[in-house]
């Protein structure tokens, strides 16, 4: 894989001049317009903004799940724009953990099987993968329920399983798409505490896309997007509020 030297500046994600367009002709929509964006190691960065402003598209191109039209993206010194599709898949497999809005747990697999999926994709043996999955479920308060199916769990519990799945292979970058929007206030708060722990205690970067203003206070930094561009970057939640954020 192509690598660059970030000179130890602590940058996890470095996005410059990235654009992305969907559709053609009259249906053409420019979702990202020359976006510049940075995320640091050890922080939980929130990307906020109204629906349709390009948050999820930005998240998708950073995670390597969507090809972009132009610009440069470096994630943990890997230049995504220089990689072939196969290498991008390899990059995602090793570097990125995903937490989705609707959890995306496979309903016919047990919690342990769901959590062990990223390890199995990485070629880890089943017994070792399940051992690690069991340990992580234990840490997240779901010990003893390894063999249950996800449908038996509450929304908050399912999101915890999704967090376990996102972390089980020790990814450096954790991508969260609206992780609390399907949860009530208290459960959402618990999940955010957990994600903050993930960002602080491990040498990684957590990027959360959300428009759930109940959880903004958990952000280390906030990036506001508007109409496909990064409108403002706030170093703290207080700064965001001072600037008129809600």
């Amino acid at each position: 894989m192509a690598e660059i030297n970030n000179n130890g500046n602590g940058l996890a994600v470095h996005v410059r001049n990235v654009s992305k367009t969907f559709g053609t002709g009259e249906a053409r929509i420019q979702a990202l317009k020359n976006v510049d964006f940075d995320a640091r190691m050890g922080e939980m960065l929130m990307v906020v903004g109204p629906s349709g402003c390009g948050k999820t598209t930005l998240l998708s191109v950073i995670a390597g799940t969507l090809q972009f039209d132009g610009g440069d993206i470096e994630v943990f010194k890997t230049r995504l724009h220089e990689l072939k599709q196969r290498d991008i898949t390899e990059f995602r497999k090793r570097t990125v953990g995903f937490i989705f809005q609707q959890f995306n747990l496979i309903p016919t697999l047990s919690l342990m099987e769901n959590v062990s999926v990223p390890l199995l994709i990485n070629g880890v043996r089943r017994s070792a993968a399940e051992k690690k999955a069991r340990e992580l479920l234990e840490q997240l308060g779901l010990g003893g329920r390894e063999k249950d199916l996800p449908t038996l769990l509450s929304g908050g519990q399912q999101q915890r399983v999704a967090i376990a799945r996102a972390l089980v292979h020790d990814p450096k970058l954790v991508i969260c798409d609206e992780p609390t929007s399907a949860l009530d206030k208290d459960t959402g708060a618990q999940i955010m505490e957990l994600l903050r722990e993930v960002a602080r205690h491990r040498d990684r970067c957590v990027i959360v896309v959300t428009h759930d203003n109940r959880v903004f206070k958990y952000a280390d930094r906030m990036t506001e997007m508007e109409d496909g561009r990064v409108a403002r970057v706030h170093e703290t939640y207080s700064e965001y509020k001072q600037d008129g954020g809600i």
């Binding site: 998240l59 799940t65 969507l66 995602r92 496979i106 016919t108 990223p118 089943r126």
Partner: protein
């Protein structure tokens, strides 16, 4: 991951049952209908297994074994004089009426063998001695004749019993086992001379001349020589069998009707499994997208789908062929409908079922290859 692929498949009970059911049905329909068809074809050539000979000489217009165009008795001698013929004997075959003790008439397939050599004899004699056919008014009957010509089941026809053929008494001297014939009539063997007495008299009575090649001659060489020297038609066993089957293909609707059913089995299997598997993939698209986002390659996902499709295929195939075998065991005991399952038939079905599964998997794989992993972020 492959284990998880199977768990995903088995976890969706409704789809799994639908897939296995569809493939079982397709497999059953294709194998069973083919087996019945092959059985029926084997019935059309059963004369050749019941009256074995290397060379069959018939009227030049005869294309198949069940067709009788009588020849002159002198034709036997003409064949005997051909270079390369070791010996040639006359044979009579024809459908005539037998009258049993209660006065009712039953059709029978009468076979008249050369009394000296008894060439064309039935292959398996269960009781009695074939040589006793040289006694006057005697017949050897097959098991179907025992069943059909007996007055009741509790008193089956046995050696020494009599019935009438064309107002002449026929005494049973033995019972043999034959392969069932396409027309479904029982075989009654007698000598050629006796058959001339039993059968209604016509100007020409000789049905077939059975011949054997002389040492150093192949059956095919001798057959060609007979044709050259007598202008009669001579077939080797294999040639006559092929010609008979070809005749049935060209002159009856049997292959077309069975072919349609077999094709229907294929289409139904393809449609049910293709559609069900595709909808299984569509329903799991979100999860497959998540796996793709997590780094599962297209190749890995394609192999997972293939494994799922092939698994239901093999289970459906096993059940379908198993049910066909049970059907076969049941009908072979009963004697009908016809049933013949050569080892190539289950292999053929296996290949077709695997093709259906590959097609079903391919529909899903195509979808997976086109799937952008970013789909998982779209709610």
């Amino acid at each position: 991951m492959y284990r998880l692929a199977l768990r995903m498949l088995l976890g969706d009970r409704a789809k799994y049952v639908m897939l296995v059911g569809g493939l079982t049905f397709a497999s059953l329909l294709m194998t069973q209908q083919c087996a019945v068809f092959f059985g029926l074809l084997s019935w059309t050539t059963s004369h050749m297994r019941n009256m074995r000979a290397s060379i069959w000489v018939v009227d030049p217009k005869v294309e198949q074994i069940n067709e009788v165009k009588p020849m002159r008795d002198t034709d036997v001698n003409r064949v005997r004089t051909v270079t390369g013929v070791a010996y040639a004997v006359p044979l009579y075959t024809g459908i005539i009426q037998a009258r049993i003790a209660d006065g009712s008439f039953k059709p029978i397939e009468m076979v008249g063998l050369d009394a000296t050599t008894l060439v064309g004899r039935p292959p398996r004699i269960l009781s009695g001695r074939l040589e006793d056919l040289r006694l006057p008014n005697t017949v050897m009957i097959d098991e179907l004749a025992v069943q059909r010509l007996s007055l009741n089941k509790n008193r089956p026809l046995r050696i020494g019993d009599t019935f009438e053929i064309n107002d002449r008494e026929a005494r049973v001297i033995g019972i043999c086992r034959t392969d069932r014939h396409f027309f479904g009539y029982p075989y009654v063997f007698t000598t050629y001379d006796e058959a001339m007495q039993f059968a209604p008299r016509t100007r020409k009575m000789l049905s077939i001349v059975l011949a054997e090649p002389a040492p150093g001659w192949s059956a095919a060489q001798t057959a060609r020589q007979i044709e050259k020297e007598t202008q009669l038609k001579a077939y080797t066993e294999a040639e006559f069998e092929r010609s008979t089957i070809k005749w049935f293909f060209l002159n009856t609707g049997i292959p077309a009707s069975f072919g349609t059913t077999i094709l229907l089995g294929f289409i139904v299997g393809m449609a049910i499994s293709g559609q069900t598997f595709y909808s299984f993939v569509l329903e799991n698209l979100k999860h497959l997208g998540a796996l793709k986002a997590m780094g599962a390659s297209n190749g890995l996902l394609a192999r997972m789908l293939l494994l799922q499709a092939m698994t239901v295929g093999m289970i459906g195939y096993g059940l379908g062929v198993g049910l066909t075998v049970l059907f076969g065991i049941a009908v072979l005991k009963k004697g009908q409908p016809p049933f013949l399952m050569p080892y190539q038939l289950p292999l053929f079905t296996l290949v077709v079922i695997l093709l259906i599964c590959a097609f079903a998997a391919l529909l899903g794989i195509r979808k997976i290859y086109k799937l952008e992993p970013a789909v998982v972020f779209r709610g």
